[in-house]
Amino acid sequence: MSVQTTALVFGHVELRLAERQLLVDGEPVALGSRGFDLLKALVAKRDRVVGKDELLDEVWPGLVVEENNLQVQISGLRRVLGARAIATVAGIGYRFTLTPGAAEAPAAAPPSAAAVLAPARVLVADDNKVNRLLLCRSLELMGHQVSSAVDGREALDMLKRQPFELLLLDLAMPELDGFGLLQARAADPVLREVAVIVTSALGGVAPVARCIELGADDFLHKPVDPWLLRARVESSLARKQQRDQQSQVLRRLMPNGPAQASRLADACVLVVGLNLPELPEPMQTQALLSDWSTLMLDAVDGRGGEVAQFRGDGLTALFGELPAALGGAQDMAELLASFNDERRAAGQAALAIGVGIARGEVVVATVATAQRAAYACLGEPVLRAEQLAAACLLAGQQMLLD
């Protein structure tokens, strides 16, 4: 059957490819030609995250188009499909998240952050052949690219020679044991970027505590349960992805290296804060903040801004020029308006945001410990933007410009 004749149903959303028509709750929705092509591409590749360049090629074939156009189309689709229908994977692209099936079908659990992770390069270090083969097999079935090492020495050599995102490390190994490898990793800034899950049959709390002290992300007791393995691998990779994104932004902000703080003589600081009408149940709060943050981060990203601080219910972003910051604030307001439309339709209270923008000299600097890194963004404009954002919320306005 040709895909052109197929109607694809995802809950309340129906996509009629032949007619180039989109129906939401059975009603046709006006969607521009680019918007339709974008949705078609996301739906066709819904088994993975689709890169921004790939989407630009699909929707504007042969044309050189600014990424901002893609962002606008994505926002338009989210307006009609709901904010959660398309997940942003920062720095990579987008993924269509709705589950196929008729609306009567029970609603599937919301996709976890892990569900949108790209395949990773994983190294398994275990001297026991059965354990090694079994771990490699489990990881391959999860879709990862897996290599293996028979002892700690070989694992360390491989880690130094080729890039890996994750290491599954046995503790009791000849040549160099797991503790030794963790020590070597702790001393090497490049190797520290590799996430580590220790897999060991050593009993007691002491080895676990020592591994965590040495910087391991997680610990799994052997024999490793395949479901637990999947959950831990996905969560370690998700944490690593967050750390990587943060260091990428740091590198962009501070090209001379994260150790060197820098002064931005004329930066536009945008601070946005969310005012919740009332505090919903914890799970609802989490979903609400995730949706809201997705929209706000998209607005910053779409105008070429850099998120300097992210709190979950607020963020501070830096822009090079005032029009970009104003555009970002405008996008935030528009995205929030669509989001509020959806909330009102679902009988939920509308949300309010306050945006403050100030301009001037700021200093950005890394604050790093062995466990965590963040960057501090300091200066008069930061304080003024924060005060303006707070004043907006109090005054019931949406944006104040210093």
Binding site: N128, K129, V130, N131, L133, S138, L141
Partner: protein, 112 residues
């Protein structure tokens, strides 16, 4: 001993999770490596090398658990706990159990 040689549920879960064909390969890998672990137990016992003895017993225990070879795993756990001072008969018993386990695993793995 009351424990079954192979826990069928564990073995079937392994086949379901990793794939029946892969489990055939895994059983062969175990058949290749496990006799070396028995030799390591004997040598370590003779040399009173506690660390090597425990490490070999530990590996046999861990693999036994993975295949659902509960009796083998329990015997290996006992040896690991006893250390290099364990009686040589206990190692012989483990070796005999291992031979029976390997034969049972090969039969089970090829059945599907």
């Amino acid at each position: 001993m009351k424990l079954p040689r192979i826990n069928a549920d564990t073995f079937e879960a392994l086949q379901a999770n990793a794939g029946a064909d892969f489990v055939v390969t895994l059983v062969e890998a175990f058949a290749e490596e496990a006799p070396q672990l028995i030799e390591a137990l004997r040598a370590a016992r003779a040399q009173a090398d506690a660390e090597r003895f425990e490490s070999a017993a530990h590996a046999l225990k861990s693999n036994g658990v993975a295949f659902g070879a509960v009796r083998l795993a329990e015997m290996a756990r006992h040896l690991e706990w006893q250390g290099a001072s364990a009686a040589s008969e206990a190692v012989d018993e483990l070796a005999a159990e291992l031979a029976a386990v390997l034969s049972a695993l090969r039969t089970l793995a090829r059945r599907t």
